[in-house]
Every structure is written in structure tokens, then in C-alpha cells.
Symmetry: C2
């Protein structure tokens, strides 16, 4: 297909597609004349992923390039490629080494992984950006005096386990060749869904517990 | 307590505390001399919330002021104050009115709320920023061709319901006077915890399904 059709089918403007091509986020099309190139389904799929990363995930262009490089790294197996791609996603501020709250948070995070029975990431620990993201978050709560014991955190871990099963089931609906791109895209795209649904569910639960009967059905 | 002690107990630097005082995010202390003011536990608690909002939630100062105003609005009941405060939190880009994908997303979001049995937010719909956050996210997935039917989304909704029960239980451990501040802080502080745990759980689940036995315990 021509660039115009790629734009129509992806909903991404031609100017933005050209920008992604220049930045190496999208492989060049097959040259068909001096001024035209042809694109195929793999371009469309890649474009969707790039769009998800940059627009929804607010992933910087350099990090997006790293994510894409991991997906194409044929020296890695399926699991490691997926892990490396997800690890290249932004994961917020790093833990502050040597800070007492960070040390407490590390012990809490380790005890939580042990409690949840998660040996894979427990073994990788500091190599894993998601582990460091967790430590930073627990350290902040420790510093501010908000509840963040293993018992407080465990229900969030159990919810995360269910979410991960749902995530991977969704990914496995794709053909093997498309699974990695889908997994990274869905990781990013479902984050605002999840945070939005949590706030909606909080409003429902708060109304159920404390509501003044604003909604007639709320006590049902 | 003096400003120095407020700083020690909160882990927030005196310069930052003075900035929050100037910006009206923290009420002035009780004046005890021409150059000194005294602060109490309510200042400490407020400071923790402001820190959570600004540092973790990356809430702009103006939005933080709105959140705090809602918490203090005595014309509202408990449930409405909490709702209004959470509604003032940033919630990402607005849905694009008139865009076909947004129309599809609105119908999907409504069907999802109906499916989940959430009448309170279903009734408020477009007034709710969390509903609009959900619509924007579903519209993006619709536009990019990623799976986002009611059946795809329902497991995330069920996870969100469990999370909300955990969130509100955590909040109810606080004294009534502290519950609203705690609820807003915990909404924001647990977001990176949840997203970090989801990525960790994905790595565990991916390793369980596709792993090459990198962790000896992973098949246990």
C-alpha cells in the first residue's frame, strides 16, 4: 500500500508517519519509483505499536527505539525478548541508593515477591526496572508514613497476578510472529484503562459505603 | 513544632515547605514570634498529601490546590468530597468529540459499566474524568485496532473492583477526619505500585509460559 493508505488505515497523519520513518521507528517501505514506496501489513502493525508507545505511553523516541530493538533481537528467546522490550519502557524515578527508606522498601519488596511466590523477578531483582519502580513507590510511601507493609501490598500483588494472566491470554490470541508487538502495546495501552477503571470502581465503592443515595440503584 | 521539625518528620526540605506555604498548598502556621511559626500534626499530614500529589502523582500546583479545596468543601458530604478530590487529579487527554472511534468507545464504556453493574458512574458519565479517561483509552485502542470489546475489558474491571475494595478498606483504617486526605494520597501512591506489580507479574507469567528455565524455581 501507499503512504496515504497506511495513513488512512492507521489513523496516523502522513507527516507523522514520515517523522517516524526519519527517526528509524518504522522501517523504510519497498521503493517502487523514484518518489514512491510501498508498505505492507508489517508496517501497519509496527506503526500501531509506535503510536501506542509514543501517544499513550508517552515513551520518548530513544526509549521507543530500544523497545523495538529488543523485539527484533534474534539472539534472545521469546520470553527474554518480551522481558527486554517491557524493561525498556519508562518506569519512573530510580530508587535513591543509601537512603534509609529505600533500604526498608527493598526489604518490603523482597518479602512481597517471596510472599507472592514470584521467583523469576526475585532472582533478577535490581536488573528489573519494574522491581526498581516498585521499590521507589514503596520508599515514597515509607518516607511519607503511608501504609505499605507486605500485608498492605499483597492484595495489589494478587490483583496484578490476575491482570498478568489476562494480559498474556490476550497476547496469545495473536499469531506467534505478532505476539511480542501486541504484548508491549497492550502493556502500555491497558495502563490508562486500568487506572481509569480503578478510579471508577473507587467512586462506586465509596458511593456504596458512604453515598447519600444519589443513585437510586446504588444500594442494590 | 517548628519548621525544622516539620521538615525532619516529613522528609521534605525547609525550602520546599516554604514554597508550598507561599503557593497556599499548606496553611500558615500559628505565629509565635515575629520570625517564627508553630506547626501541628494537621500540617504534617497535609504536607504528606501535597508531597504524594506533586512528587508521585506529578499533579500540577493548580490541580493540587483544587484537590485540597474539594477536601475542605464543607458544603459536600463525605462521598462527594472524596469524589470531587479524586476528580481533580490529572486524568490524561480528553476524548475527541465527534471522532468515530470515540463514539464506539463511549458505547463500549457504557456497556462495560452496565456489565460490571456500576450504576453510580454510569449515571454521572461525562461529568466523571475517570469515565472520560476510560473512553480516551478505549478510543485509542479502537483506532489502532487492538482488542477492546466489553469481554476483553471486563476482567480489568473485575480486578479494578477488587482493588477499590482494598483501597477503601485501607482508607477506613484512618480516623474519619483523616480519611479523605488518606484516600486521595493512596489513590495516587498506589498507582505506580500497581503498574510496577503488573509488569513484574507479567514477567513471572511469561516466564512460566515461555521460559527457558532461567530460574530453577519457575516451573514449581
Amino acid at each position: 500500500m501507499r503512504l496515504a493508505e497506511l495513513s488512512d488505515r492507521s489513523g496516523v497523519s502522513p507527516a507523522t508517519i514520515k517523522y517516524y520513518l526519519r527517526e528509524g521507528l518504522l522501517p523504510a517501505g519497498r521503493r517502487v519509483s523514484a518518489t514512491q514506496a510501498a508498505y505492507d501489513e508489517t508496517h501497519l502493525q509496527r506503526l500501531r505499536l509506535v503510536r501506542a508507545l509514543i501517544q499513550v505511553g508517552r515513551v520518548p523516541v530513544a526509549a521507543a527505539r530500544e523497545v523495538l530493538a529488543a523485539l527484533e533481537d534474534e539472539s534472545l528467546d521469546h520470553n527474554s525478548r518480551l522481558g527486554t522490550a517491557v524493561w525498556a519502557l519508562p518506569h519512573g524515578p530510580e530508587p535513591e541508593d543509601g537512603d534509609p527508606a529505600t533500604e526498608v522498601a527493598r526489604r518490603t519488596a523482597d518479602a512481597l515477591l517471596e510472599h507472592l511466590g514470584w521467583p523469576y523477578v526475585a532472582e533478577l531483582r535490581d536488573e528489573s526496572p519494574a522491581y526498581r519502580m516498585l521499590v521507589t513507590a514503596i520508599a515514597t510511601m515509607t518516607r511519607l508514613g503511608y501504609p505499605c507493609s507486605v500485608d498492605d501490598l499483597a492484595p495489589y500483588g494478587r490483583a496484578a497476578r490476575q491482570l498478568a494472566v489476562t494480559d498474556l491470554d490476550l497476547m496469545e490470541r495473536y499469531e506467534p510472529a505478532e505476539q511480542l508487538e501486541a504484548a508491549v502495546a497492550l502493556t502500555v495501552l491497558y495502563e490508562p484503562v486500568l487506572l481509569g477503571l480503578r478510579r471508577i470502581a473507587q467512586a462506586e465503592e465509596s458511593n456504596r459505603r458512604f453515598g447519600s443515595g444519589r443513585s437510586g440503584d446504588s444500594e442494590a
